[in-house]
């Protein structure tokens, strides 16, 4: 078989196909595939598709990046309309169209056929059953975690830092950098602290049932914050038949050394008499954010105003009045 098992937290647990699509909740009672059985599945790539068991007891050669593997005792399914599955649908539970009884676990195929492991050996291998949602999940044993987040340089607490567990629970630090996260599943947990303008740091802590585990001090190293500035606003025109497109490029650089800043989010507004357009996006590796107004009017003057530039590691040196540029459209 080709199957895997993952552990999830209660918060990420669900027993149905998502958002009202698909077959809903599977039955906990499995059935064996027989030729002609009508089946359905809900997969990541192709969503809900319907099919029919074409053959059983199949011996099949399946291609992997590392080579070919031969599987025995497999189920072969063909789609009712087109393919039953595609790459990325692996792991889909195949159930009977009638009654949603689990039949097989999807793992291979092509445009014509889908290959699936019979479900019973998979369940036996992992010693698991299909959850039909009829019994609530057992309550998990939990404890809490506490600790402090400090600035490495100053030794002072960092206020408003986010602390997250590997199970997805989060907390914010108070004015002294202290935090507590409650209801964390027991076991060895990874705690990661992050804060704006600091490098993140992680530690491990053992959470015991109803205990309060000390994650100790997480020291975050400050990231040096630079100052960004708009170094140029340039326009050019391009032509499509009778139409003139107005293109602009805003360049954002580090004020200290004029090196380009990539990934800065630029918000700008282009206007002419009576109307305007908002543009926003990230700068490229040359520090450039470009935009285009299609079908500009020849003879009109357009003004581009940079309303803001944001980047985690740079503060925008916002001039007053804001950085701007103008261009009167010439046409071809």
């Amino acid at each position: 078989m080709d199957a895997a098992i993952a552990s999830v937290t209660e918060a990420t647990l669900g027993v149905s196909t998502p958002d009202g699509a698909g077959y809903g909740t599977p039955s906990s009672t499995t059935v064996s595939a027989v030729t002609g059985l009508n089946v359905t599945k809900y997969g990541r790539t192709t969503g809900e598709t319907n099919g029919r068991v074409d053959a059983i007891n199949a011996t099949v050669n399946v291609g992997y990046d590392s080579g070919t593997a031969r599987f025995v005792g497999q189920v072969i399914i063909k789609g009712r309309k087109g393919s039953f599955s595609a790459g990325g649908d692996s792991g889909s539970l195949i159930v009977t169209k009638d009654g949603s009884n689990p039949v097989a676990l999807l793992f291979a195929g092509n445009n014509t056929v889908t290959i699936a492991n019979p479900i019973d050996p998979v369940l036996a291998r992992f010693n698991v059953t299909i959850d039909d949602g009829s019994t609530p999940p057992p309550p998990q044993d939990t404890g809490s975690i506490y600790g402090t987040v400090l600035d490495t340089d100053t030794g002072q607490g960092i206020s408003g830092a986010t602390v997250a567990t590997d199970t997805g629970q989060t907390a914010s630090t108070d004015g002294s950098g202290a935090y507590t996260i409650a209801d964390v599943p027991v076991g060895t947990r990874t705690v990661t602290a992050s804060a704006t303008a600091y490098e993140s740091a992680s530690t491990s802590v053992s959470v015991v049932k109803d205990g309060n585990a000390d994650a100790g001090i997480l020291s975050l190293t400050p990231i040096e914050i630079g100052v960004s500035t708009v170094s140029s606003i340039q326009f050019n025109e391009s032509y499509r038949g009778k139409n003139t497109d107005l293109n602009f490029t805003i360049t954002v650089v580090d004020k200290s050394d004029s090196s380009p800043i990539s990934g800065a989010n630029v918000a700008a507004n282009l206007s002419r008499s009576g109307t305007d357009w908002d543009f926003s996006g990230n700068t490229n590796s040359n520090g450039e954010f470009s935009g285009r107004l299609r079908s500009a009017i020849v003879g009109q003057t357009y003004t581009l105003v940079v309303n803001g530039v944001t980047h985690a590691l740079f503060v925008y040196d916002s001039p007053n009045p804001p950085a701007s540029g103008s261009h009167t459209v010439q046409g071809r």
């Binding site: 059983i56 007891n57 050669n61 291609g63 790459g87 793992f107 195929g109």
Partner: protein, 71 residues
């Protein structure tokens, strides 16, 4: 048909799989009766020549499904 198709499949699978271009063998259905399906990447003269029309009374159906890959 003295032998159950499962037995016939098991005893003939290795031989059928050894034919170049055969990617699978399975128990299917043809005309309402159990048959032996031979899945092939594409039809070749070698497959036509090597795969019999029936084995132990079960019809052999060749299905050109294409190569099978992990999904």
């Amino acid at each position: 048909m003295n032998h159950p198709i499962e037995e016939v499949l098991e005893s003939s699978a290795d031989l059928l799989m050894s034919v170049p271009g055969v990617v699978g063998v399975a128990q299917g259905e043809s005309g309402g009766r159990p048959c032996i399906k031979v899945l092939v990447a594409s039809m070749t003269s070698e497959i036509s020549a090597s795969v019999p029309d029936e084995i132990s009374g079960y019809a052999v159906v060749i299905d050109p499904v294409g190569e099978i890959r992990t999904q």
